[in-house]
Subunit: 183 residues, 2 copies
DNA sequence: GTGTATTTTCAAATATTATTGAAAATACCA
DNA sequence: TGGTATTTTCAATAATATTTGAAAATACAC
């Protein structure tokens, strides 16, 4: 048999760069269709795939974006909790690194979307329901039924999300167990 | 005890209208933060909460939107599979009605998002992975590891979605069973 | 404190997306 | 077939979201 280690593919710096760029583009595209700005998703992708902390200038350079844009987008990512600031001793610049555990990333995103979007929407739906609750007219009764069914769906999804997000790594085990049953 | 049926709240036509309008606004708002246009979500909300088929003119009137906008948005909703065209005999106008089963609605949305957004993105990620696979350099190996972990996450979510969407009403039972365990 | 590096802010510019409205196309009837 | 109702299309417009760039603010060293 030939030696095992010798026929490994060689990937040049340029090729690695190209792969990174394609990944950044794909992830940015995806973010754009899910309600976050393309740039934010691209910055996140860049920080994730590079693995190491980058400073604002490096992000600006890599993605050809302005300082203001980089600053605001990085702040947003930090507020979402999926990027954190890190300091390097001997360097006055601020560095940013992306969460490297993809399950933590996923849980964080779900937790934030529940908190920012789902819960306020549920509050609105409850308010709407209160506007007509208890009335006996035929059309109002049917209206209420439709609202209640939607609310029940949203509640279930919310509880699923909370369950998934729930502390420790149970979210992962949960998903795995769900997938293992009757495959 | 007082009679049970007599103290029902009375809800006027105006109040029902107001509740509908608030629902439409809330649902439209929600859609906007999840990557579908506000108008599309509002039309869907209107059709859902009204429960009965409406024609283009009624939709235009209720939401104060142009004929072109109504036409295109309704077409999109039909393409998504959450609104269907219905014909009323003796009426040349075309009517539209929203899916009334919220679980069918939910499954349809998930199915479409998997098909339109997640699967193409997964294809891109596989392509990116192929660009550097098998290389032995330290930085490339780490890059590949990050990509693979992300791919594994996306695959799991995809399988969860497919499972949820899977024919018959198992999605519902699945969610309920997940929630019933260790509450 | 001063001076310099770095970050943040935000009004203005740009790019993107959504909407209109009217012409063209289509559907239907007699 | 012609005539009318209805729907669709799409270039032009409007509305929205994003991005820039430079001034202001902040942080830090000395």
């Amino acid at each position: 048999m030939a030696s095992v280690g010798s026929n490994r593919k060689v990937v040049s710096k340029q090729e690695l760069e190209a792969a990174r760029a394609r990944f950044v583009a794909a992830w940015g595209q995806m973010g754009a269709t899910w309600g976050i700005s393309r740039t934010m998703a691209e910055i996140h992708a860049l920080l994730y795939i590079r693995g190491e902390p980058l400073n604002t200038d490096e992000v600006m350079e890599e993605l050809s974006i302005s300082r203001g844009n980089a600053s605001m987008s990085l702040r947003s990512l930090v507020e979402w909790g999926i990027v954190s600031r890190v300091h390097k001793r001997g360097d006055r610049k601020e560095y940013f690194q992306a969460e490297q555990d993809v399950w933590v990333l996923c849980r964080t995103i779900i937790r934030e979307r529940l908190r920012r979007e789902i819960h306020p929407m549920m509050a609105s739906l409850y308010e709407v329901r209160d506007m007509t609750q208890g009335a006996g007219e035929q059309d109002v009764t049917e209206h209420n039924k439709r609202l209640d069914e939607l609310l029940e769906l949203v509640q279930t999804l919310d509880r699923l999300g909370e369950r998934f997000v729930g502390s420790d790594g149970r979210g992962l085990r949960l998903a795995a167990s769900v997938l293992s049953k009757v495959p």
